[in-house]
């Protein structure tokens, strides 16, 4: 199956690493779009959704410049309550994570040195 993913993260390296590891997946194909902060993520989501390329999954970092992931999540879900947003963060188990979940994120995919695990988590979420 072909999935559209929007990665919203200010760490440049993740925009290189995530497509690389997703590309290795044998059962699914992925199209990964990028935004470097929350505000850009909100705009990108809207643009993709209006262009019939609504992301199947938004991976949202929490701590970012310009607009953080909590606010970006709130703005996206205000317009599209069905948006499938998962936090992609090192801040699992913290208050900021809870705030983002309250803002409409459906869950958390933890950042980890183990990218096989990250990809598995992403695929599990998409196959739900």
């Amino acid at each position: 199956m072909d999935y559209i993913i929007l990665l919203v993260d200010d760490e440049e390296q993740f925009h290189t690493l995530l497509p690389h590891y997703l590309m290795k997946h044998k059962q699914h194909a992925f199209s990964v779009h990028s935004a470097r902060h929350g505000k850009a993520g909100v705009e990108q989501y809207s643009k993709l959704a209006n262009g019939s390329e609504k992301p199947d999954l938004v991976l949202m970092d929490i701590k970012m410049p310009v607009m953080n992931g909590v606010e970006a999540t709130r703005r996206i879900t205000d317009n599209d309550p069905a948006a499938n947003i998962y936090l992609f963060t090192a801040y699992a188990g913290t208050e900021v994570e809870r705030n983002a979940l309250d803002a409409g994120a459906k869950g958390t995919i933890c950042k980890s040195a183990d990218w096989t695990r990250i990809v598995e988590d992403i695929v599990n979420v998409l196959e739900l």
Binding site: L17, K111, S112
Partner: protein, 206 residues
């Protein structure tokens, strides 16, 4: 009756309605000198006139009065019990029993000082406990925040190490070094996980 008074460890004296001392037992004579026949306010208080707080009027109305008196001259505190004493001729005198409570009073003062000092120490301990709790909380916050921050570079390093290991152009030495980077990076991740679980700050570790 006098024999009973002489056998008492407390001082006893008797005074008529015109303040004349009719009797003093030996305990009181040893303490204030022989004042029998003298005037009570002169003998006990070195005064020229009756004391303002004299209880004789109450006692003559057949009341029993108990009160505490500090003698500056003797530097002692007494518990006094003053009671009417009816004579065979119908006249009434005031009988006073002196109980020296100086030691008990000093012990009470000492106890009050100790209690105050104890209270101060308890407050100091509570302050210290509060400071330690605040410091502990700061350390815990610092450790957790640092651990969270470390996870991002650990994820990047792990990602690139794995990516480079996919290359076919590596010699054995380079492959070994990359595998070391990957393994040590995994150790760092485990350490941050332990820190986030709070295992470094468990009470039994101290």
């Amino acid at each position: 009756m006098n024999q009973i008074f002489e056998s008492m460890v407390d001082g006893v004296y008797m005074v008529s309605k015109d303040y004349k001392i009719e009797f003093m037992n030996k305990v009181l004579i040893n303490e204030f000198g022989d004042g029998i026949g003298g005037i009570c306010y002169d003998v006990f208080h070195n005064r020229d006139e009756p004391c303002p707080n004299c209880k004789i009027a109450d006692v003559l109305k057949r009341k029993v009065v108990g009160w505490e008196w500090y003698s500056r001259r003797m530097n002692k505190t007494y518990d006094l019990i003053e009671t009417p004493m009816r004579h065979v001729d119908g006249t009434i005198s005031k009988l006073t029993i002196f109980r020296d409570v100086t030691k008990r009073k000093r012990a009470e003062e000492q106890l009050k000082l100790l209690a105050r000092s104890l209270q101060e120490h308890v407050e100091m301990l509570e302050d210290s406990k509060e400071q330690i709790t605040r410091a502990y909380s700061l350390i815990e916050h610092f450790l957790k925040e640092t651990s969270h921050r470390i996870i991002t570079p650990v994820t990047v390093i792990g990602g690139y190490a794995e990516l480079m290991l996919e290359s076919r152009n590596l010699d054995d030495k380079q492959r070994e070094m990359l595998m070391t980077i990957r393994e040590r990076n995994n150790e760092v991740q485990k350490l941050t996980g332990d820190a986030l679980a709070g295992s470094y700050l468990k009470e039994e570790e101290y």
